[in-house]
């Protein structure tokens, strides 16, 4: 039994703020750690608005109503030997469990982790512990610039370390990876975000546009995703 597969999410009822049925909606969060043996579930999140503020105000021992695991996570093809994981910001929370799953399947991971500054880089250690090769890139020293990341990717592809791409947390990186994926015919997956009410495919509020047989189709991030084919996503 797994508590959640990498890329799956939980829908959190964070009605914490005093005096309001507020925030009204649940908040979607990737399972950062879901350990079936201990029953432990961890989330890594950035405090943003009311929902995440309410989460941050929770005291140890308080209850949190979570719904999940939900959605379709990352898929690892047994034929892949080496994958490249590219993430930025809290997108790394979504990708970290993937690195562990890959390691468990003896797939080698190169993780390009992007952040504004070295001190803002998240989860690098967790990637390292899986045996992944971590390539941190930063805005502060210019190493996260598209042309620099492109160089990294070129090298990885040349070294045959890129059987598949996985990306999360940055529109710019998504577009960049889509281009590489297309040019080099390397498959890929992207974990996307969209505002969610139900999280169970009922309300159709979480749609995003995708390429489908030359047309544009709306797919629900909570139900058909949050992980989608890299090529099909419209960045």
């Amino acid at each position: 039994m797994t508590l959640a597969r990498p890329g799956q999410f939980f829908h959190l009822l964070c009605t914490g703020e005093m005096g309001m049925l507020a925030p009204f909606f649940r908040r979607p969060m990737s399972a950062y750690l879901a350990d079936p043996s201990s029953g432990r579930l961890e989330f890594l999140y950035k405090v943003n608005g009311r929902g995440t503020r309410a989460l941050a105000a929770l005291q140890p021992g308080e209850e949190l109503n979570v719904l999940g695991p939900l959605g379709r996570g990352f898929r690892l093809d047994p034929s892949w030997k080496n994958i490249v994981v590219v993430g930025r910001g809290v997108g790394l929370a979504t990708l970290a469990p993937l690195a562990e799953a890959a390691a468990a399947q003896r797939i080698k991971v190169t993780a390009i982790l992007s952040a504004r500054r070295p001190d803002l880089l998240m989860s690098a250690e967790r990637f390292q512990n899986t045996g992944a090769r971590v390539l941190p890139v930063y805005d502060s020293d210019g190493s996260s610039a598209p042309e620099e990341v492109e160089k990294l990717l070129d090298r990885l592809i040349a070294s045959r370390l890129a059987d598949a791409f996985f990306v999360c947390g940055s529109q710019r990186l998504l577009r960049l990876l889509q281009r590489f994926s297309e040019t080099h015919a390397i498959p890929g997956q992207v974990a996307l975000e969209q505002q969610m009410a139900c999280g169970l495919g009922m309300c159709f509020c979480c749609v995003r546009p995708f390429r489908e047989d030359g047309k544009i189709a709306q797919r629900r991030v909570c139900w058909e995703g949050p992980v989608f084919n890299l090529q099909e996503a419209l960045a």
């Binding site: 909606f25 979570v66 169970l200 509020c205």
Partner: protein, 325 residues
């Protein structure tokens, strides 16, 4: 931490009381069903569908529709706005894929439909008059943003026209879903009854709007949308009361119902059954919990048949209507 997904399937107890209600010639095992557009196959993970009083589908249209721009929802105080825009896979897909799915379950299937004209409404009802469908719910109430929020159900006249056409088009029980964006729900309810409706659903969402004070933009991609959730309960409960007094066909209450107590309030005000919408987004097993809660409520209060609650509001002489603030 509690994962509802994990622990609710076990929560089905047999009620001691008779929870069944009659809606025209249909008898429902209990008076609780999902509201259109707030239910889908995904909920199968959460509870046993056979517990429902009925299924009500998302509104379908004849042809494929992609729906509105995002953002499609916004949070408000004790409520939500939506401008989903009735995305629909169209009739053909409904008949080939959705219908067979629901036929695997016991509860009757109510199919919600919408169309831009009375004639097309009738045509769609005709095409849906097939085995496996227990009733048609005509969504003539949906705030039509193209007409600045106007819809058939805003006026008695246009209501009567479309319901007559629908009535002539199908033998199936015909439920008509009204809009709260009208000045006179009782008149619209009477018009629908006169035109042959078997039951009324009161009501769809209330047209609303939200603005982002940071970006100066509307919070919904289509500017306006429908308000639902606990915030609207007092308004829709009042309309249910007014509609139920005006007609003799059953009224199905729908607006802000999230607990068994909410459902009881609607029954007392005159609703024969209730639909649960937004609550399911926050608590996916709200519907079965309401059913359990109703059974418990009736047991505790010594009520043998839930139909005894319908319209059982107690009024005394002191509470005669007078001028309000």
């Amino acid at each position: 931490m509690t994962s509802r997904l994990a622990d609710v399937k076990t929560d089905s107890r047999e009620p001691q009381v008779d929870l069944s209600v009659r809606i025209g010639r249909l008898t429902l095992a209990n008076p609780v069903m999902p509201a259109s557009g707030t239910f889908a196959e995904g909920l199968e993970q959460v509870f046993d569908f056979n517990r429902l009083g009925a299924f009500v589908t998302k509104t379908i249209t004849r042809d494929y529709r992609s729906g509105n721009p995002t953002p499609r929802v916004a949070e408000t105080a004790s409520g939500m706005l939506n401008s989903i825009g009735i995305p629909s896979k169209g009739l053909a897909t409904f008949l080939s894929d959705t219908l067979p799915f629901y036929r695997r379950y016991r509860p009757p299937l109510i199919v919600s439909i919408s169309a831009p004209t009375a004639e097309q409404f009738a045509e769609l009802a005709r095409e849906l008059t097939v085995p496996g469908i227990a009733a048609i719910e005509a969504n003539i109430s949906c705030p039509n943003i193209e007409a600045d929020g106007r819809a058939f159900a805003m006026l008695p006249d246009s209501t009567e026209t479309v319901v007559r056409r629908l009535r002539a088009a199908t033998e199936l029980p015909l439920w008509v879903k009204l809009t709260p964006n009208t000045a006179d729900i009782a008149a619209v309810a009477s018009a629908a009854e006169a035109a042959g409706a078997d039951a009324l659903v009161v009501a769809n969402t209330i047209l609303g709007m939200a603005v982002d004070a940071d970006t100066f933009r509307p919070r919904l991609g289509s500017i306006m949308g429908g308000l639902s959730g606990p915030a609207v309960k007092p308004i829709i409960l009042r309309m249910t009361y007014q509609a139920a007094r005006a007609v003799s066909i059953p009224v199905i209450g729908c607006g802000g119902i999230g607990t068994a107590e909410d459902a009881v309030e609607y029954l007392l005000a005159g609703a024969t059954a209730v639909q649960v919408g937004t609550a399911t987004f926050l608590h996916p097993n709200a519907t079965p919990e309401i059913i359990d809660g109703l059974a418990t409520f009736c047991c505790r209060r010594g009520i043998a048949r839930i139909e005894d609650l319908v319209g059982a509001l107690v009024l005394d002489d002191a509470s005669l209507p007078a001028a309000a603030s």
